[in-house]
Amino acid sequence: MAEALLEACAVAKHFGGVKALRDVSISIRRGEIYGLIGPNGAGKTTFFNCMTGLYIPDGGGFVFDGAPLLADAPHQAAERGIARTFQNIRLFANMTALENVMVGRHVRTKASVLGAMLQNAATKAEEAAIRQRAMDLLHYVRIEERADDLAKNLSYGDQRRLEIARALATEPKLLCLDEPAAGMNGTETAELRELIDGIRRDGTTILLIEHDVKLVMGLCDRVAVLDYGALIIEDVPAVVQKDQRVIEAYLGA
């Protein structure tokens, strides 16, 4: 497979005395679906937050797309091409589904205050393009008929989809999904799996944090397992599944 899109080098993060991440080094290759699993509190979301700039790591760092990722401002991560969804869905609740996705276009568009006031041709064209692209993305995640509903009125599954559409609107190279299947039933999970697979086929690399081991093992090309903030193993699902340390971490020694 191709070279690494994201490389984490000895990333460490602690909160007081708690070592949430102990020198975690992983590498995500272009075009793959990479699973990050581990028991509750293993440090998966902390890793996510370090990568997307919400936390500043205490040690180590990331190389993304050939250049170091300066993790001091979250909006820069999005600019570089890292988009994420949240474990506890974070939509703009009182904006419509369409507007939510349109906000996602912010980082790839550039209309200024002056442009907005004057409504010159370039601004109008950009605005129309934003709207069109947002509609296309809603169609892509199959919730276009909910475009004009407020995000907070969408069903749980649709909210997850909307969050993915909003993340895709930033044209990410790496899409990070934080437990997208949490709280979903079997059918919804199957549909989600199809969606994620489709996104990968369309050329976006995916980092997936998930509790649903079946989903991860079925979907991911490679899987890393965290336990107590440390990386236990990084390999293809078939190997990870049989690894004694992983079984111990999940079932208790």
């Binding site: 369409l98 205050v113 601004t123 950009e126 605005e127 004009d148 609107a169």
Partner: protein, 352 residues
Amino acid sequence: MSKWLTPRSLLGVVLIGAALVALPFVAAMGGQAWVRILNFAILYVFLALGLNIVVGFAGLLDLGYIAFYAVGAYVYALLASPHFGLHWPFWVILPLGALVTCFFGVLLGSPTLKLRGDYLAIVTLGFGEIIRIFLNNLNAPINVTNGAQGITLIDPVAIGGFKFAGTTQVLGVSLSGPQKYYYLLIVLAILVIIINLRLQHSRIGRAWQAIREDEIAAKAVGINTRNIKLLAFAMGASFGGVAGGIFSAMQGFVSPESFSLVESISILSMVVLGGMGHIPGVILGAVLLTILPEALRYGVGPIQVALFGKMLVDPESLRMLIFGLALVLVMRFKPAGLWPSPERKRELQEVL
């Protein structure tokens, strides 16, 4: 934009336009004081719309907004009065005032970027007071603001030879000073409303709303929340600055006592009462809260005399009582404001 050209909407525009043109003459029947009240209503529309950007769109609670009004007013007063002997034309000072208040907006915004809710409110409240106290005390060692006495004899607005103070004949119609200011204000108000509407439905406006809804999610989709917040403060402040400049010119006099905390709070009340984040609602709030108290002031005294034969309650204190009661009632029964934004059903066919 084609929806503006239907006969019905055209008729509506014409009717509203005619009403707006006729209004100062109707008001003048009750005396020029009513025309002045109308003018103040429009000034408060400016202020409420400016504050609406910060509070309504971006969700940043600002209790010191009047400071920008003060800065705008003093910029005009200092540059167009005998105080420094400067008499710059108003079309230079007004944009300059807007720029200076923009700067003050950023000045207030930058230390408060990480604050939210109550904490932000307290800091902005402090900022408002600091500006007022500065204006009160900057008469020594160098006399900049003339302290509590304020600045007098400020130039009225004049375009070319046409002065906005005093009565003039225009096309055979006698126009009083306040009536002329009214037309100037209406033109500016339409401009301000258009700017606000356009901002709201732009990339920037959406970014403001995203920050209001969820700042962390806004960062995650790549919004530079620092710059976008500062932009909200700066834009909001500039409207206050323009309003302040016109206030200065209209009154011919400014002093620090016009810019008290109560003013900040009443502008915030206009925004909240009208419908935070919804431009027509905010305009309604501003107009109602300017005109109703004045109507009460004129109405309460005579009614009391007619009913009881004498003045029982001072109209001024009754005004505050009714004002408070109105606020409580609105918050109880219409917590989203008198005219909140409807859950919009966008006409997608406009673009698709």
